[in-house]
């Protein structure tokens, strides 16, 4: 028996599951059951499918479903979530399935199709060669992807064109659908969610409509540049921060798109366990992929937040809701959490950060750098307390070592005098010989006391500087972290 659930009880994990459900065609029917955390179930009471790429589910709790008589009396619904479907990643398996479904054999067809649909960029002669092999029977599926990725994302999000300039883009349709639902269920508190482009839809719907009480989105481009002047002004004031949480992934080019501008909601950086060391930037020899990279690199002059490698990585499938990990309370495990728990990750994250197109002064960068500095400060402290201390101890023992060697020899020869070859000698002769040999040595020892003292002083000096640098580094890291917190407070990011 499923437990009752209200939207205000939904965790980030629940929103993640709901956003994931929005991808599945099977759920696009009334009364579909969607399982969320803690053995709870939610129900689809409305959905939208358009030929322009917009797909959305409206779902309610079991309590609301029962109260509304299975969705027949929508005015009785108290809480509802609209989940917008995102872009389809062109993962290898998924792509093959699509080709199979539509009877295609040539694996380059889909990409070729997409390439031919790219509107805003001029093509070189070389790139034309790649696109000459075109597929003629463009499927509904490829249309959808082209619509999602190459029209909405490229045109609106990369070129920062206001959504309101188009009457039929997904975001405008998403807003229209939310308003329709609000009319149908005027007594319901409305919430939105979505992944990728679906997340951008959800964010846009939230900023456009005060009746949307809250939203949680995943790996969507920041839509701030696509907002009207009025909405941008409200975003700058932080009007949406208390209502909207956006989770982003540093491995995902779509997540990072437009993150160099003002953030609308509270942005949290998820920890991507699937790619803890970031995306592999090794070159792909495929002509088509190279063409895409060239194209996207050219587009970077239009949008500095666009990372061709990470964008293609997202296209290739590193852009999924299944990459999230959750704490027991259903909250997403963020990079900040993971860096705190696992300091060795900081180096990998720093590497990842520098490979991606994240602005070095961005909040995300500052957060990672703060952990790097604090962890390095701790490392230097360990070097000062253990490593150099060990070296100092070993230097200090040099004189003891020499003394031990001398005593060993003294003892041995005292044992073999007074008979045989040394029958005329006694133990005192051995002492006298060693005393005599000692006077031949440096500073009447078998080692230089001066050199010995200098070496100890030199090591002590390194220890002092290691301590000092450790303190500086920890302090700097702490101040970076404080700066991050202050920035987060100012910008609605955490």
């Amino acid at each position: 028996m499923s437990k009752k659930v209200a939207q205000n009880e939904l965790s980030a994990k629940d929103y993640n599951l709901i956003s994931n459900a929005a991808y599945k065609i099977d759920y696009y029917r009334i009364s579909s059951e969607i399982d969320i955390s803690k053995n709870k179930t939610m129900y689809v009471i409305d959905y939208k499918e358009t030929t322009k790429g917009l797909n959305a589910l409206t779902i309610v709790s079991e309590e609301d479903f029962d109260r509304s008589d299975g969705g027949r009396d929508l005015t009785k619904i108290k809480n509802a979530v609209i989940a917008y479907r995102g872009s389809e990643p062109i993962g290898a398996g998924q792509y093959k399935d699509t080709i199979k479904k539509h009877g295609k054999k040539e694996s380059d067809d889909l990409l070729s199709t997409i390439l031919t649909k790219l509107p805003p960029f001029s093509r070189s002669k070389g790139s034309q060669e790649v696109t000459t092999k075109l597929t003629t029977g463009t499927t509904a599926y490829t249309n959808e992807i082209v619509q999602d990725w190459m029209v909405s994302d490229t045109k609106y999000l990369i070129k920062n064109i206001p959504f309101e300039h188009g009457a039929e883009n997904q975001m405008v349709q998403a807003d229209r659908y939310a308003k329709e639902i609000h009319k149908k269920m005027p007594n319901a508190k409305m919430y939105v969610t979505g992944h990728s482009l679906g997340g951008s839809n959800a964010s846009y719907v939230l900023v456009k409509n005060d009746f949307i009480k809250g939203g949680v989105t995943f790996e969507n481009p920041n839509i701030y540049p696509n907002l009207s002047d009025g909405l941008q002004a409200k975003a700058l004031k932080g009007d949406y921060r208390s209502r909207l949480t956006e989770y982003i992934n540093l491995n995902d080019g779509l997540s990072l798109l437009n993150r160099h501008t003002t953030e609308i909601g509270r942005v949290k950086v998820m920890y991507d366990a699937a790619l803890p060391e970031g995306v592999d930037y090794s070159e792909d020899s495929s002509k088509a992929v190279q063409f895409m990279k060239d194209l996207l690199n050219r587009a970077m002059s239009v949008n500095p937040s666009l990372d061709a490698n990470l964008f293609l990585e997202a296209l290739a499938g590193s852009h999924g809701l299944d990459r999230y990990a959750f704490s027991s309370d259903g909250s997403v495990e963020t990079i900040d959490d993971m860096l705190r728990k696992n300091p060795s990750l900081t180096a990998a994250m720093l590497h990842q950060l520098s490979q991606s197109n994240v602005h070095p002064q961005s909040v995300v960068a500052i957060l990672i750098k703060s952990h790097v500095l604090m962890n390095t400060g701790r490392k230097f402290s360990t070097y000062a307390e253990h490593h150099i201390q060990q070296i100092i101890r070993k230097i200090e023992k040099l004189d003891d070592k020499v003394d031990q060697s001398v005593e060993r020899v003294r003892s041995r020869y005292k044992q073999i005098v007074g008979f045989g070859s040394y029958d005329q000698l006694t133990a005192s002769d051995v002492d006298a010989v060693i005393r005599h040999l000692k006077t031949e040595g440096l500073e009447n020892e078998f080692y230089s006391v001066k050199e010995y003292d200098t070496a100890i002083d030199s090591a002590m000096n390194i220890k002092r500087w290691l301590d000092s640098i450790s303190d500086d580094m920890s302090q700097l890291g702490k101040e970076y972290h404080d700066a991050d917190t202050a920035l987060a407070k100012n910008m609605g990011i955490s």
Binding site: P360, I416, V417
Partner: protein
């Protein structure tokens, strides 16, 4: 002739054979030396000569043994240099990481401080000198 006042054990004799570096070519230590015909004065002079020779041999033997011991000490102490290298590599790895991926006035000052203050090559030179000084 036997001047010994000590009763050595078999082990002592063995040790003496193993550590003895002076040869028995000395005329004073030849076993067929006829002390029976000597006067007490000659005998005393002979004993002094033999003692001197044994002492010279002892000096040579102890010097040789100490040199051997100190060589081992120096070799063992060389591990300190390895520890310094290890620490230096660790520190430079961090420094390089910070320098490569991060920038800014404070960061630059920090990496400069690491470069200028943590002079591991100087420490190595100083330790090497201390190690090299061990000997006769």
């Amino acid at each position: 002739m036997e001047f010994s006042k000590k009763q050595p054990t078999d082990a002592d004799r063995f040790l003496q054979r193993m550590t003895d570096t002076h040869t028995s070519s000395s005329v004073f230590s030849q076993t067929n030396f006829h002390t029976e015909d000597m006067t007490p004065a000659e005998l005393a002079a002979l004993k002094v000569k033999i003692k001197e020779e044994q002492k010279t041999a002892l000096i040579r033997a102890i010097r040789h043994q100490l040199q051997h011991e100190f060589a081992e000490d120096r070799q063992e102490a060389g591990k300190i240099l390895d520890l310094i290298d290890e620490l230096q590599n660790k520190v430079y790895k961090h420094q390089k990481r910070i320098h490569t991926h991060m920038s800014g006035q404070a960061i630059d000052a920090l990496t400069e401080k690491i470069e200028q203050r943590l002079k591991f090559y100087e420490l190595k030179e100083d330790v090497q000198s201390a190690i090299d000084s061990i000997g006769i």
